[in-house]
Amino acid sequence: MASLKCLLRSGRNAVSVVLRREFHRTLPASLQVTVRDALNQAMDEELERDERVFLLGEEVAQYDGAYKVSRGLWKKYGDKRIIDTPITEMGFAGIAVGAAMGGLRPICEFMTFNFSMQAIDQVINSAAKTYYMSAGLQQVPIVFRGPNGASAGVAAQHSQCFAAWYAHCPGLKVVSPWNSEDAKGLLKAAVRDDNPVVFLENELMYGVPFEMSEEAQSKDFLIPIGKAKIERQGDRVTLVSHSRLVSHCLDAAAVLSKDGIECEVINLRTIRPMDMETIEKSVIKTNHLITVEGGWPQFGVGAEISARIMEGPAFNYLDAPVARVTGVDIPMPYAKILEDHSIPQVKDIIFTVKKTLNI
């Protein structure tokens, strides 16, 4: 019942995803798991597996998590491993980094990544750069996680996408899961990674259920950081995206398929290090590339992909310039009609595909 409510809340796109999923050939023991539950499972399993793993952040313990992602964990693991912090991001992020330096493996939750700006010095200068500055003497095995990007009606200060900001910095790994398997496998991999990982979730995806294969249900299910996934095979155009907008790309692909245009949809999964090989291979096949992201256009993920395509082997296979579909270059407005027009919609992707293919 709760998942149905979440479905309706996340909008039409999520419903179409679920419908499509249900008509797939289902594996014998697969089940529907929401992104929220997948994240919860990942943390539960890693907390159980390694004594040194712990979670800290605002409302993660007794409140069960501001978005209920850490539900049940405090009850199971107690005060020592699930720590509620005061509303002091710079302080608790620094403490988390220090704990990682001291031998623990913290998961530091930012209620949203907007608040990480208060702590960004600790993420970059204390976490990301330390292994390099110390020439390998001091490692920092920490995960910074939380919802990133636009939500629904939360306005300008609570809607920024930080993928480009964090992915700019050497020494960090930046991960952006889309579905439940991504969420689980990548979070487990991030926790087991000995380096600082910025894990960008999406609030609107928390309630969306996806099929979780039997393999993905295993306690050792890991997805390698740094590898993209081709969610849909195609041959006319390559759509590259991350996080929630992968759903939009798949929806656009479904519509375009009716017109005989088969899109290849790539789910980046990791922003840094970016899997250019998968993108290039696809572009060499399709000759057209469109990047789709929720963040602002300038100096963004799509900008980086465009630059790298030009520097690599795939450039000679392009039949048209790379086109970027991005959020509008403005602070996020509040009114629904304005907000809806501030982020890419499925029709924007379809329009861009047709323009690129000159249809």
Partner: protein, 393 residues
């Protein structure tokens, strides 16, 4: 009496063979020197504490000589760095510690090697007390492959076991130190973390955030404010509405300590360490100290303070002179023995400087290494699309 002195001198002679002690074995008979003495030390101003550290400190001859050697080594090392900087062999930032040596030496004497320590950018002294050698410290300053961070960190980014730097961002090291303390408590080790910051950093918001969490969670953290009266060019009166830094922790008990006296610092640190190890949570120490050099090598240090002031501190409160006088006037050593130590120190510094100037710079192949720990090799973009650089863990 004679027999007892001989026994004592035999014991001392045996103990100097241990690896840790760096006492000079003088050819003169030990029976001439006082093995230990008790000294009156300045009392500490207290905040939220019923009683403070003892106002008497016992110093053994062995300890005194070891402190003297380390203080002198630190002093000479910083002066040599000054020289090398002026010769342009050291570049960039160089924040010297001379004048403040009693803090680093006193703190180390009050904690265990298994305890942890973190400080800001005026870190050369602590790198030494925490196990770094003068050679590798100087080679790091000159940016050579033999440097403690292989030349990749520089003056502000030196690390050793249980020493977390060397941190360039003012105040950022304080939450980090509390985090190390959390790790100590979490892992059930009887260890604590000494977290240092200056009078300039003491006004940083993140420090107050850290006081709050360290107190709430009773972290075994000793906060230490090294108050050298100036944050770069700004005197404490111009920067802080309250210059009672030992009280700024509010709900955290605090003490204000004479930071020029190595024994005061040692006793206060022991007192603070006992407090933490008893599970009482954090404690705050303000060490009143002084730096002879300017803020960094680009600051002559006389535009915001007078030469007379610097000279007065040098003549009245120098930590090395203070220890020397104490030991000499109590017949714990003599001028010749101390001179021998000076000669050895000078030699070690010269050798280190020689190494630091002749050791080659890091190889270019190292450029992109150490981005990630325990990771597969990866390709790193160079300055243009045709450079393919390799990075290994």
């Amino acid at each position: 009496m004679r027999k007892m002195l001989t026994i004592i001198s035999n014991v001392l002679r045996a103990s100097t063979k241990k690896n840790g002690a760096r006492v000079v074995v003088s050819s003169r008979s030990y029976a001439d020197f006082t093995p230990q003495a008790s000294f009156d030390i300045k009392g500490c101003d207290l905040h939220r504490l019923e009683e403070g550290p003892a106002q008497q400190a016992v110093l053994t001859r062995e300890e005194g000589l070891q402190y003297y050697r380390t203080l002198q080594m630190m002093r000479r090392m910083e002066l040599k760095a000054d020289q090398l900087y002026k010769q342009k062999i050291i570049r960039g930032f160089c924040h010297l510690y001379d004048g403040q040596e009693a803090c680093a030496v006193g703190i180390e004497a009050g904690i265990n090697p298994t305890d942890h320590l973190i400080t800001a950018y005026r870190a050369h002294g602590y790198t030494l007390t925490r196990g770094g050698t003068v050679r590798e410290i100087m080679a790091e300053l000159t940016g050579r492959r033999g440097g403690i961070a292989k030349g990749k960190g520089g003056s502000m980014h030196m690390y050793t076991k249980n020493f977390y730097g060397g941190n360039g961002i003012v105040g950022a090291q304080v939450p980090l130190g509390a985090g190390v303390a959390l790790a100590c408590k979490y892992q059930g080790r009887n260890e604590l973390c000494v977290t240092l910051y200056g009078d300039g950093a003491a006004n940083q918001g993140q420090i107050f955030e850290t006081y709050n969490m360290a107190s709430l969670w009773k972290l075994p953290c000793i906060f230490i404010c090294e108050n050298n009266k100036y944050g770069m060019g700004t005197s404490v009166e111009r920067a802080a509405a309250s210059t009672d830094y030992y009280k700024r922790g509010d709900f955290i008990p605090g003490l204000r300590v004479d930071g020029m006296d190595v024994l005061c610092v040692r006793e206060a640190t022991k007192f603070a360490a006992d407090h933490c190890r008893a599970g009482k949570g954090p404690i705050l120490m303000e060490l009143q100290t002084y730096r002879y050099h300017g803020h960094s090598m680009s600051d002559p240090g006389v535009s915001y303070r007078t030469r007379e002031e610097i000279q007065e501190v040098r003549s009245k409160s120098d930590p090395i002179s203070m220890l020397k006088e104490r030991m000499l006037s109590n017949n714990m050593t003599n001028v010749e023995e101390l001179k021998e130590i000076d000669v050895e120190v000078r030699k070690e510094i010269e050798d280190a400087a020689q190494f630091a100037t002749t050791d080659p710079e890091p190889p270019l192949e190292e450029l992109c290494n150490h981005l990630f720990s325990n990771d597969q090799p990866l390709e790193v973009r160079g300055t243009h699309p045709w450079t393919k650089l390799k990075s290994v863990s």
